[in-house]
């Protein structure tokens, strides 16, 4: 793992090449994280992969998380690994929920990230509306193919430029994004004689 000063050095170097790409850094529980502007995540990943002295060429895992009450609601995490130095680095791209756009825009402090991502829109294809979008990194890391489809399947995050962005684990005709925090867990309550009238 790069330590906290090392993380700041990486941040400084990326700032030189891509100003404004890094929003924040955090060093928590021994794990270094770069919080990245979702519009420039591909440039940052490419820089981390190719820049001399970095070489984070192995994408261990790509997953998303839903921080529901927070305003940039979603985040896509890239767990990068430098296999020579055995160092891990997490790149986290925050994504706002465009469908919640009008609601949050009415609030006095509108999140700037939400404005930017919804303003850029979809340059390539017009996918389903109201879904957050981010650039696909399949060209850079072919291993991200299934994982991006999984993230799309569960969170409804659209990866621009993905070759075949369809549902992967759920049935093709499934409606909804089950891993979002506002999606109910589902299942059914166990019925006994006493609560049969209630549920049955």
């Amino acid at each position: 793992m790069p330590d906290a000063p090392g993380l700041e050095l990486i941040r400084g170097e990326i700032e030189q090449d891509h100003p404004g790409a890094i929003l924040d850094t955090s060093f928590d529980r021994g794990q270094a994280t770069l919080v990245v502007d979702s519009e420039q995540v591909l440039e940052v990943l490419r820089w981390l992969c190719d820049a001399p002295g970095q070489g984070y060429r192995f994408l261990s895992s790509l997953h998303a998380a839903d921080y529901l009450p927070a305003t940039p609601r979603f985040a896509v995490h890239y767990e990068l690994l430098n296999r020579n130095r055995v160092e891990r680095l997490r790149v986290k791209a925050l994504l706002a929920d465009p469908s919640a756009g009008p609601v949050t825009a009415g609030d006095p402090p509108p999140p700037p990230v939400a404005k930017a991502s919804s303003g850029v829109g979809s340059p390539t294809a017009p996918p389903a509306e109201g879904l957050p979008e981010i650039d696909s990194c399949v060209e850079l890391f072919p291993t991200a193919d299934f994982q991006e489809r999984e993230v799309f399947d569960f969170f409804g995050i659209v990866f621009r430029g993905h070759p075949d962005l369809t549902r992967i684990l759920l049935p093709e005709d499934y409606v909804g994004w089950p891993q979002r925090r506002d999606f109910p867990v589902g299942g059914e309550p166990v019925t006994f004689t006493y609560n049969e009238r209630q549920y049955g």
Binding site: L170, P178, G187
Partner: protein
């Protein structure tokens, strides 16, 4: 031993007569109905579908229960069939997801009559611990199940026990469990289709069977 062999030879030759012949027939011949004999042979030569869904598949028919320590061949069900058209028993070993349920139903429909189904493990019996959006809460929502085996996953011994239960059911002598043992027929609670209404016809039928067995 030698004596018996001699008698059998005499019998075949037609030399056995009178009291001896009667004794021989009493010892050796079982008179039964054709259906019972048919069911007896069906129960003892099952062809399970070699089909696995999840965890239970490793403990169940496709793998552990077939291997040497448990050896379901002792009960005549070791010849797993890969095609549902050749099989007469399906074991649902594991959780059935909403994506898999149509496939399982189709496999079951492709099997030829008579056919039986065992639901192995908590997940396929009731959804088990996975009470969520992705798992069908009990396989009997979409197909009839004959025997449910509890466990997560059940031990191979439990699979064998459940299988012998199924055999007794095929032979026309279904176990009614503790209700029969404790003479408690009539205490069943039937899950109803809608708001507390009449039980389903199958439930009524099963109830009648249970009452009859309890009286006998």
């Amino acid at each position: 031993m030698r004596d018996r062999q001699l008698r059998a030879r005499d019998m075949l030759r037609g030399d056995l007569e009178g009291e001896e012949l009667e004794r021989y027939v009493e010892e050796k011949v079982v008179v039964t109905r054709f259906e019972e004999m048919l069911n007896w042979s069906r129960a003892n030569s099952m062809f399970p579908l070699s089909f696995g869904l999840a965890c239970c598949a490793i403990e169940g028919i496709p793998m552990s229960a077939v291997t040497a320590r448990y050896d379901i061949a002792r009960f005549g069900a070791e010849a797993g069939r890969a095609s549902p058209r050749q099989a007469d028993m399906i074991i649902l070993s594991g959780r059935v997801s909403i994506k898999m349920a149509p496939v399982v139903r189709r496999l079951y429909d492709q099997m030829l009559e008579p056919k039986w189904a065992i639901s192995m493990g908590a997940c396929s019996s009731s959804g088990g611990m996975f009470s969520n959006y992705a798992v069908v809460q009990g396989a009997d929502k979409f197909m009839p199940i004959d025997v449910h085996i509890p466990g997560c996953p059940p031990r191979p011994e439990a699979v064998l026990y459940g299988f012998t239960k199924l055999q007794r059911k095929i032979m026309g002598n279904p176990d009614q469990g503790w209700r029969q043992r404790y003479n408690a027929a009539g205490t069943e609670e039937w899950a109803r289709g809608g708001p507390a209404s009449t039980p389903s016809p199958e439930a009524v039928e099963a109830y009648e069977v249970a009452r009859e067995l309890a009286r006998a």
